[in-house]
Amino acid sequence: MSDVAERVKKIVIEHLGVDADKVVDNANFIEDLGADSLDTVELVMAFEEEFSVEIPDDAAETIVTVGDAVRFLDKATAAS
């Protein structure tokens, strides 16, 4: 697992209070991990903080699974 994926997973576990084995690539934050809309706002904020990137609202709306977050952040951190 990439460094980005590890860090994303850690944030998701911490913020949503879920078991590590549930945080898989295709896990949907709301449907599979029990998040509500405010939790996802906070998650995106935590990703921004951890990776020192800015995630605009329209991009944030496309991040609905763990894999979406990893792919977005992989790209964003590679670009910077």
Partner: protein, 419 residues
């Protein structure tokens, strides 16, 4: 008017987590005071407080994980956590778990808090300044506003009746219980969870109350002696934290389900001083009228009252005015006992009235007046028993609990055995 009784009690206090755990230590004369833990105090005028003892949940310690999921705890200030804890205990004590839709819509919540999430407001203010608005938490608002005590309690226990909150400084807990009792009396609900919660022991809270000269500052090296209501050497209150809760229920509803009945709420009186933002009136007029209104509502006379849980915060002005006002109300030769349990748990601000109502109910149940600690030199004007230093067994039929708040807001409750 429908009768309202108390069928459940809950509490997390600076002495312990739990009603019986706290009551036992209170009667034993223990104090919850100590040097403030958890933040920098060296530059504060007051460096002591009464904080909830945290631990693994054994020996009366408070383990947050037993009451709220860690994921939710992160989103709220401690006053909401304390409120949920006390309310959950009270509902369990009342053995009231509404599962049908009908029971759920007939059960409501009124909780109070004086200050709300001051700690979180302080922290997020710093985030805003240092990191900008995009870093302010989406849970900043919901974890700080006062009615989210009632909100969280209702969500956790599926209580779909009236959902309300009270913000009247140090009278909040008393107003919450009194107002909840009225909602039941008027038929808006059959059961209400009512109480108060506070968690203002943080740098901003201590600095703020010290700035308005309300806190004790002479006893930083002797914290357990600092809260000394009515004593000659008192110099301000010691801040406490926690929550108290009661389950109130319509009398026939409680009887029909065979509930254990602690007491009946028979009197509730309120008034405003219209005088000063922090100082009580010299004449005690507002406090006098609130007590008088509660007595009238209860259909008794002042002489019928056996025990008074005083507001008694340990401030120089407030205690003396309350004592004189009570003595004026009770008349000469009164047999009443009045104590301030703030001597043991500090001033829980918006939670004080709720916690003290619970103590008043237990005084009634066990026929014992809890003590006023550190009262070595009572005022010369004293004519009544202030229960100095040690708890006292005595006959108790009617109890009065007093709360007076900043802004000049007064509230009093009278409880008695339900016959």
């Amino acid at each position: 008017m429908r009768r309202v009784v108390v069928t459940g009690l809950g509490m997390v206090s600076p002495l312990a987590c739990g009603v019986e755990e706290t009551w036992k230590l209170l009667l034993a004369g223990e104090s919850g005071a100590g040097p403030i833990q958890g933040f920098q105090t060296d530059d504060l005028a007051c460096r002591i407080a009464m904080q909830v003892p945290r631990g693994d949940g054994t020996n009366g310690t408070f383990n947050p994980d037993h009451w709220m999921e860690p994921k939710e705890q992160r989103k709220v200030d401690d006053f909401i956590l304390f409120a949920v804890t006390a309310a959950t205990q009270a509902l369990a004590d009342a053995n009231w778990k509404p599962t049908t839709y009908q029971d759920q819509i007939e059960t409501g919540v009124i909780f109070g808090s004086g200050i709300g999430g001051l700690g979180g407001i302080y922290e997020q203010g710093i985030v805003l300044k240092e990191k900008g608005p995009r870093r302010v938490s989406p849970f900043f608002v919901t974890g700080r506003i006062i009615n989210l005590t009632s909100g969280y309690i209702s969500i956790q226990h599926q209580l779909k009746g009236p959902n309300h909150a009270v913000v009247t400084a140090c009278s909040s807990g008393t107003h919450a219980i009194g107002d909840a009792a009225r909602l039941i009396a008027f038929g808006d609900a059959e059961v209400m969870v009512a109480g108060g919660a506070e968690s203002a022991v943080n740098r901003l809270g201590i600095a703020g109350f010290a700035a308005c000269r309300a806190l004790s500052t002479d006893f930083n090296d002797r914290p357990k002696e600092a809260s000394r209501p009515f004593d000659r050497d008192r110099d301000g209150f010691v801040m406490g934290e926690g929550a108290g809760a009661v389950v109130l229920e319509e009398y026939e509803h409680a009887k029909a389900r065979g509930a254990k009945i602690y007491a009946e709420v028979v009197g509730y009186g309120m008034s405003g001083d219209a005088y000063h933002i922090t100082a009580p009136m010299e004449s005690g007029d507002g406090a006098f009228r609130a007590m008088q209104a509660a007595i009238k509502r209860a259909g008794i006379t002042a002489e019928d009252i056996d025990y008074i849980n005083a507001h008694g915060t340990s401030t120089p002005l407030g205690d003396e005015i309350e004592l004189n006002t009570v003595q004026r109300l009770m008349g000469e030769g009164s047999k009443v006992s009045m104590s301030s349990t703030k001597s043991a748990i500090g001033h829980l601000l918006g939670a004080a009235g709720a916690v003290e109502a619970v103590f008043s109910i237990l005084a009634l149940r066990d026929q014992i007046a809890p003590p006023t600690l550190n009262l070595h030199n009572p005022p010369a004007s004293m004519q009544i028993d202030l229960v100095p230093l040690e708890a006292r067994k005595r006959d108790i039929e009617f109890v009065l609990s007093n709360s007076f708040g900043f802004g000049g807001t007064n509230a009093c409750l009278i409880l008695t055995h339900a016959h």
